[in-house]
Amino acid sequence: MIKFRISIIGSYPRSPSLGKVFSRFRAGKVSKDILEKEVMRRESTFLSLVKDIGAHYSTDGLLRWDDLLDVTFSYLSGQEKGELMRFFDNNFYYRKPVIKDRLRARLEEYLSYLQGDIELAKQVGYTGTLKAVIVGPLTYSLLSDNQYYETVEELIMSYSAEVNSVLKNLPRGINAVEIHEPSIFAKGVKTSLLDRLKDAYQTLLSGVQVEKHLITYFYINSSRIDLLLSLPVDVYGFDIIENMNILGVLYRKVKERRVFLGVLDTRNTKIERVSTIRRVVEKAREKGASEVLIGNAAPMDFIPEAVVIKKLKLLKKIGGA
């Protein structure tokens, strides 16, 4: 029986008790040290879980960030946190970055967190590949409020250039980068922006030596799959559990590609059937994908932690290191 390598993407649920520590920190009631210790303790539990299921790739669970866009504040200056906005069609909200000045790479904070992740992974004995997480240029530009750049195209190119210098300085021990680009399939994106995306990715990833995983989720617009596959990355990620009706189209296009297939629905508590997952991922292999990675289809904040654990353990039955 074929084993599929597991890749855990995006965020793991931040438990209410950890949320309470964040609230107390923000109210000045506990120190940064106490918060850090608590974050690392929970991250260690998460990494033990991904080790247990045999995940070949994983993020650090993004527990220290309020939302995906919040991650960008650790590697970019020139922006402020704005109003709460709905994250796609979820009952989950993010703080909109408001771009007030020229974006500039900030290496110290982001790299220091990644260094901490590497050490923690060693401590818990997780030997898989740790991924750094960044927001893709298109998603960043569409989910932020641009008050500085003349055009969105200019913003995308500036973002890509600055983040490139972050990615070229990733610490030894981070061997992959996970780029979240769910907006690539969003409705109403201007063609002029999509046309610049290939250039933006070339700038973003030029000289970056680690593996590049491009992750999309929620919705697949089949007319843009070719555009996605033209971007210079190693692994192309798709949420297939919410897009079962277009798998035929998708599988025809991913021949000889390395793909990540999101097979666990992180927007519903219903537990998937192992046989269904196996059937759809085996089909991708049969159709010619050179490698099929499997994992959670989207960030995991949208379902309770207890359900996430149950779902992740399903992966062990189909995949493994």
């Binding site: 109003e83 989950f92 219903k270 359900v307």
Partner: protein, 330 residues
């Protein structure tokens, strides 16, 4: 229903008094009885009603102090739901998002005690009762049972209709159906509107729908299809830009205008509220405008929530005076 021009109201929720939060914690720890908790809930409702009275709100609520959360409360009382644990909505805010694991059925009245008590303590017969609408209930639940969200939402509409009937029987004259999620998914808006209409079918009361935060363009073309008297919106946070849209689509209902930003601790001045209301009145006649905050005030500290209500009422009074002066000049 006797109300002044530009009636003031709240959307529903109001911060729980700090002591109530402590009583709830004591009950969870098993250190006080259910009766003690019930007494504390009633006392909290009296406290909130008094805040509304002092602020001068024309159409008050009990602050929804007996409900932890707008979906969770009803899901705990309807058949078909199950809870697995809390999920985050943003930052460090959580709620227990329910899962639908069986056919949804109405079991017994859910808000009857609340309405009867509110009626007994209200300083006006024109108090408002709020209930979460079928689409929002469905959208903010996980669906493990139904073939489609539509099927789930229409079963919820039936259950909510039974509940609203019991509220009217108990003396509720103003009922607000909360639908903050109705404009989440463009393709579903037309049948979501039908579901809301199903939930209020045959109801003899003043009916309102509350919609907030998101892209109003998705729902705007369908607003006149809602069989309600009024729709209230978050407007302040958008600097009243949606007014143009509402005018363009020929919005015909009463407008509940959100003039207080509930996500910002800055207290709007009465003069600011007055100015904002005069802007609103450039689009809609005063006879068709009610005044309210953008959304529930629950997330603000109680002191700020109270000050915001006072400013809203005083700003509305200034606007009424301005309108009166204008009338006299004619």
């Amino acid at each position: 229903m006797e109300l002044p021009l530009l009636p003031t109201t709240v959307i529903g929720s109001y911060p729980r008094p700090k002591w109530l939060r402590e009583v709830i914690a004591l009950r969870k720890a098993g250190r006080i009885s259910e009766d003690d908790l019930k007494e504390a809930f009633n006392d909290a409702a009296v406290t909130v009603m008094r805040d509304h009275l002092i602020a001068g709100i024309d159409v008050p609520t009990d602050g929804e102090v007996k409900r932890d959360e707008m979906v969770e409360f009803f899901a705990e009382r309807l058949k078909g739901f199950k809870f697995y644990g809390p999920v985050r909505v943003w930052g460090t805010a959580y709620y227990r998002k329910p899962s639908v694991v069986d056919k949804i059925e109405y079991v017994r009245p859910m808000l009857l005690d609340e309405v009867e008590f509110t009626k007994s303590i209200s300083y006006t017969p024109n108090f408002k009762v709020t209930i979460t609408g079928p689409y929002t209930m469905g959208y903010w639940s996980y669906n493990e049972y139904y073939k489609s969200r539509r099927d789930m939402v229409f079963d919820l509409a039936k259950a909510i209709n039974s509940e609203i009937r019991s509220l009217v029987d108990a003396g509720a004259k103003i009922i607000q159906v909360d639908e903050p999620a109705i404009h989440s998914t463009k393709d579903e808006v037309p049948w979501a509107i039908e579901a809301v209409n199903e939930s209020i079918k045959g109801i003899n009361a003043k009916l309102m729908v509350h919609i907030c935060y998101g892209d109003y363009k998705l729902v705007a073309p369908y607003l006149n299809d809602l069989k309600v008297d009024q729709i209230n919106f978050a407007l302040k946070i958008y600097d009243y830009k949606p007014l143009k849209l509402l005018k363009e689509v020929g919005f015909e209902k009463e407008l509940g205008a959100g003039v207080i930003d509930v996500h910002n601790k800055r207290v709007e001045s009465p003069e600011e509220v007055q100015k904002d209301l005069m802007t609103i009145l450039r689009y809609f006649p005063p006879e068709k405008v009610w005044v309210n905050p953008d959304c529930g005030l629950k997330l603000q500290p109680r002191k700020i929530a109270f000050e915001k209500m006072v400013s809203m009422v005083n700003g509305t009074r200034l606007a009424r005076e301005e309108l009166k002066k204008g009338e006299n000049r004619k």
